[in-house]
């Protein structure tokens, strides 16, 4: 419920902010730090990224860079405070919106009526389309992080060989998956991470009868929905099914030994069981790894000093391993 309230606040803010406006980060920027709003393509969808540039960065610099990924049903705005602070450590930081969230474009579907021919690889049309938003598909979000890395690697002043990823909440799992599937990730920080899968054997997904019925329904009647009610229902059903087979824990032992992974956990996290998630995952890593506990902190890191301590731990990790 609290999450929904938060989301509503964000939605109102997003609606009232024209896209073309000059960057106005929601946080005060450290001295000399600048930001730049960019569009990066993730699988054909124009996504939003806000790049925070440290003081003194030039096109000739060879700075390390970090992609920051928001938590479950969150947007770029929620993690700017981290990106802004990382820049004081000489890091370039790019906070992103996933496909279908915040200032990123949505998932596109054609209504009936468009014909194509494979001999024409790219064809242009004016057509009825349906654009879906607020889908929660973990695999798609991981891909968004990886495509943001690609964008960053083309940014002047950045050292392509020194790329890190940072994610909070569900994105803590995403960065672990990114580290295990993308060779470009050299350092990762998973903050208050949700890393499901410890108690699930790494085997093919065997959907329950209820899940099978949902899969059948999506395959047989799952055209892009036309109404908000249908879209909300489909978002929820898709997310539930996707989560049922999303197990970042399975990826821990596939992270290369050259990639350094830090878990930053809140001591009094009531949402995520740190022992079952971060601590357990860290034991499977082959490379440099650590678990930093923020004393007294809860999942939102809202207690006094918690945010600063979490930033400090992450920034120090990136500095050391990038």
């Amino acid at each position: 419920m609290r999450r929904r309230a938060y989301l509503l606040v964000f939605v109102l803010a997003a609606v009232s902010t024209p896209l073309a406006q000059a960057p106005k980060p929601g946080v005060s920027l450290p001295d000399g730090v600048t930001t730049r709003d960019v569009k990066f393509f993730s699988e054909g969808v124009q996504c939003f990224g806000r790049i925070f540039l440290p003081k003194g960065l030039t096109a000739d610099s060879k700075a390390p860079a970090v992609v920051l990924a928001p938590g479950w049903a969150e947007t770029e705005a929620s993690i700017e405070k981290y990106a802004a602070r990382f820049t004081t450590r000489g890091l370039v930081a790019m906070a992103i919106d996933y496909r279908g969230w915040g200032k990123s474009g949505g998932f596109l579907y054609l209504d009936d009526g468009v014909r194509w021919d494979d001999r024409l690889r790219f064809s242009q049309h004016t057509a009825r389309v349906r654009i879906r938003r607020k889908r929660l598909i973990p695999d798609a979000q991981v891909l968004d992080i990886r495509n943001a890395i690609s964008y960053l690697q083309g940014e002047p002043g950045i050292d392509r060989a020194r790329i890190g990823v940072w994610g909070t909440d569900m994105a803590g799992g995403h960065v672990l998956v990114s580290a295990a599937t993308d060779i470009r990730v050299k350092a990762a920080v998973a903050q208050v991470p949700v890393i499901e899968g410890r108690d699930v054997p790494r085997k093919a997904f065997a959907p329950s009868a209820v899940q099978q019925a949902q899969l059948v329904r999506l395959a047989r009647t799952g055209q892009a929905p036309a109404t908000a009610i249908a879209a909300d229902t489909m978002n929820e059903e898709e997310a539930r099914l996707a989560l049922a087979e999303y197990h970042p824990f399975w990826y821990a032992d596939a992270v290369p030994p050259t990639t350094a992974v830090l878990f930053v956990v809140a001591e009094k996290d009531t949402k995520v069981n740190n022992d079952a998630h971060a601590a357990a995952a860290s034991k499977l890593l082959r490379g440099p790894n650590g678990v930093t506990v923020i004393p007294g902190a809860t999942h939102t890191l809202s207690t006094p000093g918690a945010l600063e301590a979490a930033v400090e731990a992450a920034a120090a990790w990136f500095q050391k391993y990038l």
Binding site: V11, V45, F107, W116, S123, V129, A148, A204, V216, R220
Partner: protein, 381 residues
């Protein structure tokens, strides 16, 4: 099926020996001379792809077809062509098989396998992957040519817009999803037993089906033709220039470099496809295949694309068997990659595949047995 093979199969099942997990291979030995002819006859050479004459077939007597639409990835419409066996009844319980094509092939080139499977008593559905043939382009193959003004205030917006439609976007991650959506569709098809679904894939599709088996336990039998990845380690694939530069270009402009991707029909694919497909390495997920899924590899001895001697398939088979998963490799003697689709290659290959499916999925049953729990999956549109 020739009578001796039928008897051999029966004997193996009745005896219940260790060998009974395998299907008989006498057919291959019996057709040795035909394989040799195909391998040496100039007219039967198939370098660089199949030919349109390889795609033709006669619809077997009593087999009926129906073209269907099913959905993947949040609303992308895919095309399937159902082949229904003689005596099929929507009130019965029949095993069913998804039939999927290779790189820049199309369902029209492999319909004949589905027809053959239906002739043998299986429901079979040949599909086009997303962005191929009669299937729609996925959300990642469509691009808005104007600013996307939608916001999180609405979860769906319908409008008239300028769009770019991209075709032949080779992507094995999406092909895995396409196969699984097809399995879901078949599970809900009246007359199909949702507990007895198999998948058949050839060439690149043969690679994908093994990955599907590692992802989805609903698949009970797999046939992987002219493919076969040996066991491999998990972890990220290497990524170096010029592919790395292409990643940057894709993220900054929306489109990277293209390369020739055509085998059986000529077309371009993204250069990036080769990199993206390394996210699906079935050799690294063989250990995820459950014992309830049975895997048959049908490699060609002189395969110029997937490697000679069926080495990858044999290694994967050994790996699976050691872990209690029923698997078998049967090699098409002397054939090259694309010869598998015609003449003796097709005859023997489709027969062995059907044998495998019938052995592990069983045969169709006329209406009488009903199980309420699984019947509820059969939702009508």
């Amino acid at each position: 099926m020739p009578a001796p093979l039928r008897l051999g199969l029966l004997a193996a099942v009745v005896l219940g020996t260790g060998l009974s997990a395998q299907i008989a291979t006498d057919l291959v030995a019996k057709r040795k001379a035909d394989f040799h002819t195909q391998a040496t006859d100039a007219d039967m050479k198939r370098d660089g792809g199949t030919q349109p004459r390889d795609w033709n077939y006669d619809l077997p007597e009593g087999v009926t077809t129906r073209q269907v639409t099913f959905y993947v990835g949040g609303g992308t419409p895919l095309y399937g062509k159902l082949f229904l066996p003689r005596q099929f009844s929507p009130r019965g319980r029949w095993p069913a098989v998804v039939v999927g094509h290779g790189i820049n092939a199309l369902s029209i080139g492999i319909e004949k396998y589905a027809a053959r499977f239906a002739d043998r008593g299986l429901v079979a559905m040949a599909i086009d992957y997303q962005s191929y043939g009669f299937s729609g382009s996925g959300a990642d193959d469509l691009r808005l040519l104007e600013p996307d003004t939608t916001t999180d205030a609405r979860t769906v917006t319908e409008k008239q817009a300028r769009v770019l439609v991209k075709r032949t976007n080779l992507n094995n991650v999406e092909e895995v999803a396409d196969f699984r959506a097809a399995v879901s569709f078949l599970q809900g098809e009246p007359g199909v037993d949702p507990e007895r679904i198999g998948i058949w894939g050839s060439s690149n599709g043969g690679t994908v089906v093994v990955a599907v088996a590692a992802a989805d336990a609903r698949v009970k039998a797999v046939v992987s033709q002219v493919s076969g990845a040996p066991p491999s380690a998990r972890g990220p694939a290497p990524l170096a220039a010029p592919m790395l530069d292409d990643a940057v270009r894709r993220a900054r402009t929306g489109q990277g470099a293209e390369v020739d991707g055509g085998f059986s029909f000529k077309s371009k694919v993204d250069m990036w496809s080769a990199q993206r497909n390394r996210d699906v390495r079935p050799g690294s997920t063989l250990d995820q295949i459950p014992a309830t899924t049975r895997v048959l590899f049908l490699p060609a001895e002189n395969d110029e694309l997937s490697g000679p001697g069926g080495a990858g398939a044999l290694a994967a088979t050994k790996y699976l068997m050691e872990r209690g998963v029923t698997a078998q490799t049967i090699i098409y003697p002397e054939l090259t990659h694309f010869q598998a689709y015609s003449h003796t290659g097709f005859d023997v290959g489709s027969t062995l595949a059907a044998d495998w499916f019938l052995k592990y999925l069983g045969t169709g049953a006329p209406p009488k047995t009903t199980k309420a729990a699984t019947d509820s999956l059969n939702v009508r549109r």
